[in-house]
């Protein structure tokens, strides 16, 4: 608990405002990106990349994970990320479905 409050002081309100500005800036980039004629896959990658960065910022600063013990991160996130990745095993079937559609 003590360690925790020490760190809480280390983060000032200013940090949060900067994080907020960064998040907004990335959102603006995302919206602009949507209006460029880029290939679908590239666009998806860019958007998701930015979203992951935004998510990471929210988790690290707003949700305070950066200032918790690292063991908490290790307990929670590998299993979540692992499961999310597993869900992508569905995708080969999606492509097959596409191939099998009557044209």
């Amino acid at each position: 608990m003590q360690a925790h409050s020490e760190q809480a002081i280390a983060v000032t309100a200013k940090t949060f405002v900067w994080v907020w500005v960064a998040l907004l800036a990335m959102t603006v980039v995302e919206v602009l990106l949507a209006y460029f004629h880029v290939p679908l896959l590239l666009m998806l990658t860019a958007l998701m990349g930015l979203s992951v960065i935004k998510g990471a910022l929210i988790i690290a600063y707003f949700m305070h994970l950066k200032f918790e013990r690292f063991s908490l991160f290790l307990t929670l996130f590998p299993m979540l990320i692992f499961c999310i990745l597993l869900l992508f095993i569905f995708m080969p079937d999606s492509f097959r479905l596409m191939e099998l559609r009557p044209r």
Binding site: L50, F62, M63, T75, M79, L80, I84, S94
Partner: protein
């Protein structure tokens, strides 16, 4: 066998008990666990959406800049800002400024409410003006509306629940009942709702922009 027994002589100090290994109270850990689970529910829905969309040759991309994208961007702005006010509320509470914390939490709730109102307007526009429903739409790809309403609907439910939850917290803090950690836990939930939107916004809206 000898080793096995020598292990039994390890003194009890190996684990002190009574303290969280993560140096956080159980409530906060509980909320984190809930968030992990809920995040997986949303991920599964997003993956289902991706799966169905990839398998559909002509997925419609109907969102015009005005009003859809404009509204959605505004909603993102509102939600991100409400996260900022929330974090300020937690900050104030941690430093013992109860009144200020209540103010920040109320601001957060206002942000949440604004999000819901904007979103409802946007839904109304889609349903009434564009004719998009969960089961049909002008582009004859019923799954477009289905995925749209399922994802944004579940997210909006989370926002509404969050506003109510924050309301309870604000009242409790105002009356001097809740501790800083209670505010922090509610903050975790609120930021999570924000976080989910960071993925729904690009995947649902920006990937379907009408150019």
């Amino acid at each position: 066998m000898a080793e096995a027994r020598s292990e039994t002589l390890v003194p009890a100090s190996a684990w002190g008990g009574g303290a969280s290994p993560f140096a956080m109270n159980s409530k906060k850990l509980g909320m984190w666990l809930f968030i992990i689970s809920d995040a997986l529910t949303f991920s599964a829905l997003l993956v289902a959406y991706t799966y169905l969309r990839l398998a559909t040759p002509n997925w419609p991309t109907p969102f015009h800049f005005s009003p859809s994208i404009l509204f959605a961007s505004l909603m993102t702005f509102v939600l991100l800002s409400s996260s900022l006010t929330m974090v300020m509320g937690v900050h104030a509470m941690n430093h013992g400024h109860r009144r200020r914390a209540v103010g920040w939490i109320l601001a957060t709730m206002a942000g949440g409410a604004a999000f819901v109102i904007l979103h409802a307007t946007e839904w109304r526009h889609l349903i009434v003006d564009e004719g998009v429903t969960p089961f049909s739409n002008p582009w004859n790809e019923p799954l477009f509306g289905a995925t749209f309403f399922a994802l944004t609907g579940l997210h909006m439910t989370h926002v509404i629940v969050g506003v109510l939850y924050l309301g309870v917290i604000a009242i409790g803090v105002g009356r001097g009942k809740f501790k800083p950690e209670d505010v922090e836990v509610s903050g975790l939930y609120w930021h999570f709702v924000d976080l989910v939107w960071m993925f729904i916004f690009p995947l649902v809206y920006l990937m379907s922009v009408h150019i």
